[in-house]
Amino acid sequence: MRRMITLKEAAVFGFFVAVMLGTAIFATRSRDAMHGVIYLSIALVALAVLFLLLGTTVLFIFQLIIYVGAVTVLYVWGIMLMRHEIMESAQ
C-alpha cells in the first residue's frame, strides 16, 4: 500500500541523495587518485543508505560488503602499490 512520505523522510532521503551526488562529482573531479577513491567510497555508502531507506536491507548490506568492503579496498590496494611520485607529478 502506498502512502505519502513525510517531510522528514523526504529531507533525510534528499540529504543522502545530495551526499551521493556531491561525492560522486568530487570523485570524478579530484586530481588525486586516492582522494577519488575516498569520495567514491562515501558515495557508495550513501547509495547503500538510500537502499536502506527504501526498505531493502539485503541490498543495503550487500552493497556495503561488495562495493565498500571489497571493490574500494582493492582500488586502494592498487593505488598503494603505485609509486607516490606518479601522483605528485599529476598535481
Binding site: T57, I61, I65, G69, V73, M80
Partner: protein, 704 residues
C-alpha cells in the same frame, strides 16, 4: 508502558524511560527562573505578582522540542550514548585485562599503582594521550590521514551497536544482523590502507601492504567460517543462532572445527599476536600506526579494542551460547543449568573469558612470518572452512528426524542435537586422522608444540612476579657485592691509609663524636664524601685491620648533596642517615588479596603441570641471589674446612667467590661468629653508647 520490573525492560524501553527523565530535568531547568520569581514575590507578600504558566516566563520550550517532538530521534540517541559509555568502559577494561594478564604471563605485575589493582591506569593513559601533541607529518595526505581513525572507530562502534548484548539489548535490531556486523568488521582494512598510505612513511606503507595481504588472506575464510554456523542455525540473526544453541547445546560442540577456524580468522582480522604482522614492532617501528600520535593514536587503539570486543562477542554468540547459561533444553526439561544470572552478565562474562584466551594466545605464540601467514590463510584455513561447510551441509541433509527425543547415555537429547554433536566430533577426529596419516610431522608436531606452549605460559602465569617492589621489598644482595662503605669502630686504628690511597680524595679523617674506642689516641675516623666516590675499593684493600668494608647496602640517593656526605659516625652507624623518604606504602598494591587467594590454589596445580617453569618462577631467578643465604648457612654450620671445600666443588663460580671471601674473613678473625655489622649500617645502628668525642664538625653537618 514499561513493566514494573526494571530488569525486564528492553533496551528501547529503558531509553524511552531515560527520555522521559531527561524531559523532566530539562523542563525543570527551563522553569527554574519562573519558579524562582514566584518564590521571590511570594516571600515579599505579593502573590498577585506571581507568574502563571504561560504568562511572561523564561520557559523556552527546549524540553518539549527535544524530548516530545523529537522523541523518535532522542531515544535512539540516548541509547547510543549509553552503549558508547558501556563500550568505552569495556574497552578500558579489555586493555586492563590484557596488560595485567600479559604482565602475569611475563612474571611482571602489570599496572598496580593507580587505582585498585591498577584499574585506573588506562584512564590516566587516555588523559595523557589527550594532552599530547597531535602531530601531523609534513607530507601526509591529511584527508586520508584524518579519515583512517574515523572509519576504524566508526565501523567498530556501528558493529557494537548491532550486537545483541542480551535478548533485550540490541540497539540496531535489523534482520541479517550477522551479515551487518561481519560487513562492518571487514571495513577495517580500508582504514588501515588509508592510514598506511597517507602517512608518507616507509614503515607505515609497508605495514599497510602487509595488512592488505593479511586481511585478504583472513577475510575470505572469515566469511566462510561463519557459514557453518549460519547453515546449522538456519538464520542470519544472532538471536536465532543463540536460540538454536539454547535448544541444541553450544555450537562449539556441533562444529568444533568451525569454532577453531573462526577463532583463528578473528585473530587474523584483529591483527593480534601471532598475526600482528602489520604492527611488527621489531621490523616496522609501529607498523601502519607509526606516524599517528596523541589522540589520533588513541583513537586507533580504541578502534582496535572495540573490534576486539566485537570479535570476542561474535565468538561468544556463535559458538559459546551467547547470553544463555551452559546446558540445553528438551521440551520443558532444562538440562544442566537454568538462568540464574542476568543474561547480559553471562554474555559479558563469556566475552571476557574469550578475550582472556586471546591474551593467553598472545603470551604463548611468537609472531608468524608473512609467507607463513599467507600460506596458512590460503592453503590451510580456507580449504578447512570449505570442508567445514560441506560437513555441516551433510548434517542438515541427513537430519530427517528433527525434534525427536532420543535416549542417550547423557540423558534425553534431541535427535538433531545428537547428530550434530556426533558428526561434529567425527569431523574433527577424521580431519586430525587424515592429517596424521600423511602429515604427522608437519601437523601433529606443531599441534603438540602449540599445546606445550599454552601449558608453559600458564606456568609462568601462576608464578610469583619477579618484580621486586623497591623500596618496599628488597632483593637479597650477593655477599660478594661491594657497594656502600661501612666502618667498624672496634677495629679502626686511625691510620688514615684509606684517606691517603683514595684517588678521589673523598675520605677525610675526622674526630668521631660517638666512638667508643678505649684508647684516646685512636679517635679519628674516615668520613666519606660519596658525592665523588667511584667505589674503586682501594680504601678497603689497604685497610690493615679490615675495619673499612664495602657491603651489600646500595641505597645512595638524596635530595641534596649534603645528604651524600657520610660522616664518620654515620659510617659507623651511630647516627641516622638522612635519606629520602619513601612514599606511603598504601599507595601500591604489594600483594593484593587476589594474589593471596589465588596463589595457594593455583600453585600446586601449576607445579604439577610445569615443574621446570615453576622452579624458576617461584622467586629466585639467578644464583646471585641464592648465594648469601646459602653461604651464610654453610659458613655458620660447617666447621670442617675440608668438608666445606667438597661442597664448594659443586657450586657456581660466583658462589665460590662469595664463599672464598667469607672463609678469608673467618681465617683472619679466627674467633667469634662472623661480623656483618660493619657491612650494613642498619645492623650497626644497634650499637649503643656515646663516645667521648669532640672534634671538628663535618661540612654539611653544622645544623645538627
Amino acid at each position: 508502558m514499561a513493566p514494573d520490573d526494571p530488569f525486564a525492560w528492553t533496551f528501547s524501553e529503558l531509553c524511552g524511560a531515560l527520555n522521559d527523565i531527561s524531559y523532566n530535568v530539562v523542563y525543570g531547568i527551563g522553569e527554574l527562573p519562573h519558579n524562582l520569581w514566584n518564590i521571590l514575590v511570594g516571600t515579599f507578600g505579593h502573590p498577585e505578582w506571581s507568574l502563571a504558566p504561560g504568562d511572561l516566563t523564561f520557559h523556552i520550550g527546549l524540553a518539549d522540542w527535544l524530548f516530545v517532538q523529537n522523541r523518535s530521534v532522542m531515544a535512539p540517541l540516548i541509547g547510543a550514548t549509553l552503549l558508547l559509555l558501556f563500550t568505552l568502559v569495556n574497552v578500558l577494561m579489555f586493555i586492563w585485562v590484557e596488560r595485567k594478564m600479559l604482565a602475569r604471563f611475563m612474571d611482571r605485575r602489570g599496572p598496580m599503582v593507580s587505582g585498585p589493582f591498577g584499574l585506573l591506569q588506562n584512564v590516566w593513559d587516555g588523559m595523557k594521550l589527550l594532552i599530547k601533541e597531535n602531530a601531523r607529518p609534513a607530507k601526509a595526505d591529511m584527508l586520508a590521514f584524518f579519515l583512517c581513525p574515523v572509519i576504524l572507530v566508526g565501523s567498530a562502534f556501528a558493529a557494537v551497536g548491532a550486537l545483541p548484548l542480551s535478548d533485550k539489548v540490541q540497539l540496531v535490531a535489523i534482520d541479517l544482523d550477522v551479515l551487518y556486523v561481519i560487513m562492518l568488521f571487514a571495513f577495517a582494512p580500508y582504514a588501515v590502507f588509508l592510514g598506511g598510505w597517507a602517512s608518507y612513511n616507509k614503515f607505515s606503507l609497508l605495514g599497510g601492504m602487509r595488512s592488505a595481504a593479511q586481511m585478504l588472506a583472513g577475510e575470505v575464510p572469515f566469511f566462510l567460517a561463519v557459514g557453518g554456523v549460519v547453515l546449522l542455525a538456519g538464520s542470519y540473526r544472532f538471536a536465532d543462532i543463540v536460540a538454536w544453541q539454547e535448544v541444541h547445546g553450544w555450537m562449539i560442540f556441533a562444529t568444533p572445527l568451525g569454532a577453531i577456524l573462526f577463532t583463528v580468522t578473528v585473530l587474523i582480522e584483529l591483527e593480534r599476536i601471532p598475526f600482528d604482522l602489520p604492527e611488527a614492532e621489531s621490523e616496522l617501528v609501529e607498523g601502519w600506526t607509526t606516524e599517528y600520535s596523541g589522540l589520533r593514536w588513541g583513537m586507533l587503539w580504541l578502534g582496535g579494542y572495540m573490534r576486539g570486543f566485537v570479535g570476542c562477542a561474535m565468538i561468544t554468540l556463535f559458538f559459546l551460547g551467547g547470553w544463555t547459561m551452559p546446558g540445553y533444553a528438551v521440551g520443558d526439561l532444562q538440562v544442566f543449568t537454568p538462568h540464574i544470572l542476568p543474561p547480559i552478565v553471562i554474555f559479558m562474562g563469556k566475552t571476557y573469558l574469550v578475550f582472556a584466551f586471546m591474551v593467553w594466545v598472545r603470551a604463548a605464540f611468537p609472531r608468524l612470518r608473512t609467507d607463513q601467514l599467507l600460506s596458512a590463510g590460503w592453503r590451510r584455513v580456507l580449504p578447512l572452512t570449505l570442508a567445514n561447510i560441506a560437513v555441516v551441509g551433510l548434517l542438515i541433509v541427513d537430519n530427517q528426524r528433527p525434534g525427536e527425543v532420543v535416549d542417550t547415555p547423557f540423558g534425553p537429547m534431541l535427535f538433531d542435537t545428537l547428530l550434530a554433536w556426533s558428526v561434529g566430533a567425527a569431523t574433527f577426529f577424521a580431519i586430525v586422522a587424515l592429517y596424521a596419516m600423511r602429515l604427522a610431522p608437519r601437523v601433529l608436531a606443531p599441534m603438540a608444540l602449540s599445546a606445550r606452549m599454552f601449558v608453559d605460559t600458564l606456568g609462568w602465569f601462576g608464578g610469583r612476579p619477579i618484580t621486586v617492589l623497591y623500596p618496599y621489598e628488597y632483593l637479597e644482595m650477593p655477599a660478594a657485592g661491594r657497594w656502600l662503605h661501612g666502618l667498624s669502630d672496634e677495629r679502626c686504628i686511625s691510620c688514615a691509609r684509606c684517606c691517603r690511597i683514595c684517588p678521589d680524595n673523598c675520605l677525610n679523617m675526622v674526630e668521631t663524636q660517638h666512638g667508643k674506642h678505649p684508647d684516646p689516641r685512636f679517635t679519628t675516623r674516615p668520613a666519606l664524601d660519596a658525592n665523588h666516590c667511584m667505589f674503586c675499593g682501594l680504601c678497603v684493600e689497604v685497610c690493615p685491620t679490615g675495619a673499612l668494608t664495602m657491603g651489600p647496602n646500595f641505597e645512595l640517593s638524596g635530595w641534596a648533596r649534603d645528604e651524600l656526605y657520610w660522616s664518620q659516625d654515620e659510617l659507623m652507624g651511630y647516627t641516622d642517615h638522612a635519606m629520602q623518604e619513601n612514599p606511603a606504602k598504601a599507595e601500591i598494591e604489594v600483594e593484593g588479596w587476589v594474589d593471596k587467594l589465588v596463589y595457594p590454589l593455583i600453585t600446586p596445580v601449576l607445579q604439577f603441570l610445569t615443574p621446570h617453569n615453576y622452579e624458576r618462577a617461584k622467586g629466585t631467578h639467578s644464583d646471585a641471589y641464592q648465594v648469601p643465604s646459602m653461604v651464610r648457612e654453610l659458613a655458620g654450620e660447617v666447621a670442617d674446612e675440608q668438608e666445606l671445600g667438597l661442597m664448594i666443588q659443586g657450586m657456581s663460580r660466583r658462589s665460590k667467590k662469595a664463599l672464598e671471601m667469607l672463609m678469608e674473613d673467618r681465617r683472619q678473625k679466627a674467633q667469634g661468629p662472623l661480623d656483618f655489622s660493619a657491612w650494613d649500617y642498619r645492623h650497626a645502628r644497634k650499637h649503643e653508647g656515646k663516645g667521648s668525642g669532640f672534634g671538628e664538625m663535618a661540612p654539611g653537618q653544622e645544623e645538627k
